[in-house]
């Protein structure tokens, strides 16, 4: 059973449908006991870092996620959910992340070539940097769907894949039992379903 954490941020419909499509059991929950008893935890998220981080803190679920991750449970963050796994984000100020991965999150504005559109929206290809069970069905050059204006930096020790958007941008990370994707596997067709399947099988 995979617990998809519901903390009032973003639309979980597609995520649940994707796991349904590959036959993996999920539960959408904000109940700490359900999260503790699940085999794996998925941390979704869209929107602004500060708002999402506050909601996670107010619900007390940030502590549960950190405890479970520290105890060795396999955890995957998607998009903003991945960004929250890092130590801090500089989206409108400076905000503390969950600190499960070392590195921070910065904005594209001012750090990418001027002519690039922000947000980075669309299909871009993966450059695979290391091996990991969640990437067992992924081939170098596979296309996935991105929607974001911020990205993770200083995370070389967990870098799983990058994508080229004016420069190399962190696309996926993994360290021990904690992993995450900046792109949306639930919107990335067969390649994305393969990543979710690999997470379910991990």
């Amino acid at each position: 059973m995979i617990a998809i954490i519901d903390y009032g941020v973003g639309n979980l419909f597609s995520l649940r449908s994707s796991f349904d499509a590959i036959g993996a059991e999920t539960v959408i929950t904000s109940d700490p006991d359900v999260i503790r008893s699940a085999d794996k935890v998925l941390l979704p998220g869209v929107g602004a870092f500060e708002d999402a981080r506050r909601k996670l803190r107010l619900s007390g679920l940030d502590k549960v996620v950190v405890e479970e991750a520290t105890a060795g449970k396999r955890i995957m963050g998607i998009c903003l959910g991945m960004q929250m796994l890092f130590e801090r984000s500089y989206e409108y100020g400076e905000h503390e992340g969950l600190g499960l991965l070392s590195g921070s999150v910065i904005g594209m504005q001012g750090t990418l070539p001027e002519d690039l559109k922000i947000p980075h929206i669309g299909w871009n290809s993966l450059s695979v940097k290391s091996e990991h069970p969640i990437f067992k069905y992924v081939k170098d050059g596979d296309f996935v769907y991105f929607v974001h204006s911020y990205y993770a930096v200083d995370c070389d020790n967990s870098l799983l894949a990058t994508t080229d958007y004016g420069k190399e941008i962190t696309a996926a990370v993994a360290s021990g039992n904690v992993c995450g994707t900046q792109f949306h596997p639930e919107k990335s067709g067969e390649v994305g379903l393969g990543i979710l399947r690999a997470f379910a099988e991990w």
Binding site: F13, N124, K187, G189
Partner: protein, 252 residues
């Protein structure tokens, strides 16, 4: 690098996909769920569903169809048509939409763009504009292209993006349904005016028209079409191959 997107558009009325010429004549083609699955399998990068129903019953049917589709198709889905309030955003987002496009609803109430962007994020709010040349300027039309609003198009697009629209779909009424190619002149102006992704709509009749679009308007992000895909005049896999051979970066 990021790829250029190919987007089939499904106009849905009373549970069926329809496609009009110059927004007037309408003919029925197929089940939206089936068509969406086929397009996804063939390599469409994204899908747009427009609800062109007028009745409440039709609206419920549309929402159901959206949900069925979102359970089976795992590429981004944009939904438009009849989006006038934040409740409409909520209705389609919980039914499975990823992005919501606003048109006449935003013309009537421009605050809708900012309010929706604040609640759901800029990436969720797509401005769709129907544009026609009138007296030597590009004019915004509302109500499915029937009513001249008197507004100049480029300034309306700029203003909408400033308020929080994260993407713009430009429908040229002059080229729509004519199958003579996209409106390159208009699309160039729009891509020069805003920094968010711009999607070209109206005029696709052949593979060459897509190649022309991406060559002549290098900053355009996507090409959208309906009938040429629905009636099989252009097969998406063939289109992707042709674009790639023409040096345009697409998802294979």
């Amino acid at each position: 690098m990021i790829t250029k997107r190919i987007i089939p558009c499904l106009d849905v009325r009373d549970g069926r996909v329809v496609k009009g010429t110059n927004f007037l004549n309408v003919s029925d083609v197929a089940s939206p769920v089936d068509l969406a699955e086929i397009y996804s399998r063939e390599g469409a990068d994204e899908l747009v569903f427009y609800d062109i129903t007028a009745s409440n019953e039709g609206r419920r049917l549309f929402t159901d169809i959206l949900t069925f589709t979102a359970r089976k198709v795992f590429i981004p889905l944009t939904v438009g048509g009849g989006i006038n309030t934040l409740d409409d955003f909520h209705r389609v987002l919980t039914a499975g939409a990823d992005k919501v496009s606003v048109n006449s609803g935003a013309i009537r109430n421009p605050e809708l763009i900012g309010e929706a962007a604040k609640r759901y994020g800029d990436q969720c709010v797509v401005l769709s504009v129907d544009i026609k040349r009138v007296d030597g300027e590009f004019r915004v039309f509302s109500k499915g292209g029937r009513e001249d609003t008197g507004m100049e198009a480029i300034s309306w697009i700029r203003r909408s993006v400033d308020m929080g629209a994260g993407e713009v779909v430009v429908n040229s009424i002059d080229t729509d349904g004519v199958k003579g190619g996209f409106d390159v002149e208009l699309l160039r102006l729009v891509t020069e005016a805003v920094k968010v992704p711009v999607i070209a709509s109206g005029g696709a009749g052949s593979v060459e028209h897509f190649i022309d679009l991406f060559h002549k308007v290098p900053n355009i992000d996507a090409g959208l079409a309906a009938s040429v895909f629905h009636f099989g005049e252009i097969k998406i896999p063939d289109l992707k191959v042709a674009l790639s051979e023409a040096g345009i970066n697409v998802r294979s």
